[in-house]
């Protein structure tokens, strides 16, 4: 028995089709109302029953910021103009990415009751998690802008472009990684521990706690060009540097000199390459997700 759907006459309910959906991320945005409700639900229930509630999302980065500012600042012995702005502009990127990674990678498993019973675009869960993480960036941007204004921020057009590129870069990579890890986590629960390790690595391999110029002096100027290129090959490193260009260097007394001295060359070109690579990674993550999701229901 074989059904040829192409030769069937038009039917008011449409043609016969495979009920397992194949639309991927496009389906998620087609069902934007459900996405909106899932994001709202996540925001409501994440800190349900906690007296401090949503404030936890800010208490944790605030404590981290204080540690970086006081402790690491003392240890580094490196005089850095507007150190608070430098740390905070990097922290926006790092906090978003690590939060998206942690909650995104667990999102499919956390919604296993739905995944096992109802046919809906499963990409919905990592996408919703990443959107919740993005929501938590808003007050951080407000804080950094207040800090900028108090520090005599003089942004040029390139600063706004850098901020936009940093945001797009980190969103694309955050979504791609969350999508990929959420699918792998269904098969291997070790993934959530791998994410914890990645978080630690990220904190120390981006110029957030320390300024980029230290890497330049310690790695590039000592002839370790290969290591320097590896360091700069991290998408998150580029996002942090772009955010430095947007909020930190324009607040210094001599913004143009600071941008040249404190940041790597070809910053915008590198950022653009990273965005394109991120989009390719997102496509790859979608392909992997689609391949693995066929067995999600039976693996959970």
């Amino acid at each position: 028995m074989s059904v040829d759907t192409s030769t069937q006459p038009a039917h008011p309910l449409g043609p016969l089709h495979n009920p397992g959906r194949v639309g991927g991320l496009m389906d998620v945005f087609r069902r934007h109302y459900l996405l909106r409700l899932l994001v709202r639900k996540e925001l409501r229930v994440r800190y349900q029953g906690s007296p401090i509630g949503l404030a936890w999302s800010y208490v944790k980065p605030a404590v981290r910021f204080a540690m970086y500012y006081w402790v690491i600042g003392l240890l580094l012995q490196h005089r850095l103009e507007d150190r608070a702005l430098h740390i905070f502009s990097g922290m926006i990127m790092v906090s978003f990415f690590t939060d998206a990674l942690t909650s995104g990678s667990r999102s499919v498993v956390r919604n296993k009751s739905l995944v096992r019973k109802i046919n809906l675009p499963r990409e919905m869960f990592p996408v919703a998690s990443v959107m919740v993480s993005a929501y938590h960036m808003i007050p951080m941007y407000v804080i950094v802008l207040i800090g900028c204004l108090l520090s005599g921020w003089h942004p040029d057009a390139m600063a706004f472009l850098a901020a936009l590129m940093a945001l797009v870069l980190v969103m694309v990579w955050g979504l791609a990684t969350a999508l990929l890890l959420s699918a792998w986590n269904v098969y291997f629960r070790d993934v959530s521990n791998v994410v914890d390790v990645i978080q630690t690595v990220i904190t120390w391999t981006v110029p957030m706690i320390y300024p980029f110029i230290i890497v330049k002096q310690q790695v590039l100027d000592t002839g370790h060009d290969f290591l320097y290129q590896i360091y700069l090959a991290s998408p998150l490193c580029n996002a942090v540097l772009l955010n430095n260009r947007a909020f930190w260097t324009p607040a210094s007394e001599q913004p143009a000199e600071a941008a040249v001295k404190e940041l790597p060359s070809h910053l915008f070109e590198r950022g653009l390459v990273m965005i394109v690579l991120g989009l390719l990674c997102l496509w790859f993550a979608q392909v992997v997700f689609s391949r693995l999701e066929g067995r999600f229901a039976e693996k959970m």
Binding site: L16, R31, L114, N119, D190, E298
Partner: protein, 249 residues
Amino acid sequence: MSASIVVENVTKRFKLANQKTFKKLAVNALKRRPLSNSFTALQDIAFTLEQGEAIGLMGLNGSGKSTLLKLISGVMMPDEGQVLTRGRIAGLIDVGAGLHPDLSGRENIYLNGAILGMTEAEINRKFDAILDFSEMEKFLDTEVRHYSSGMFMRLAFATAVHTDCDIFLIDEVLAVGDQPFRKKCMARIHQLKAEGRTMVFVSHNPKQVLKLCQRGLVLETGKMIYEGSAHGAVETLGYELNLDDDDDD
């Protein structure tokens, strides 16, 4: 009439992984132990259901009924063969899966409706009908965690049966709830059937199957051992029809 569900020589195997961690995977690979075992949950199942037909899917526990429903709903994919459907599908399979305990009844109607594929406008339009069916007006703004299991079920079922779907997959959803509500649910299911919706109905209650379905299909350890009239399916299983049974109809 036209085909609404086509199941073509479908086989489904489950792989049972012997490890859930990289460490166990590596140890098993090094010791050359099998990394997974598999068993066949469904084997070479084939049938076609016309639009507006209702089929009773019967069989003992573990025969593959729920797996077949999940294949038709698209939650799972077959390993061999294919499943084709026409129109929108509502799976009344564990209807409470879409409810969240920390949200109110009202919020859950919207969330569950959206999960089942309804648009915001569709839920707004049907909100009163859903509420009326569930009889939960008094607890509408109470968090669902405070509901009893029966109340939970009412809300979930009321939302599910108000989706504008062409195919309904019903998996023993009437196992809980009080008798008046079960009767109301059966009446709603009969109404949907009368409106021309296609139905796959899983039940161990032969009277319910005979009342709702013209056709029956019996599974036994993943194989289709009967496909024909609903009466024939009940006879194949050797179920006795006790007319004094509470049949919730």
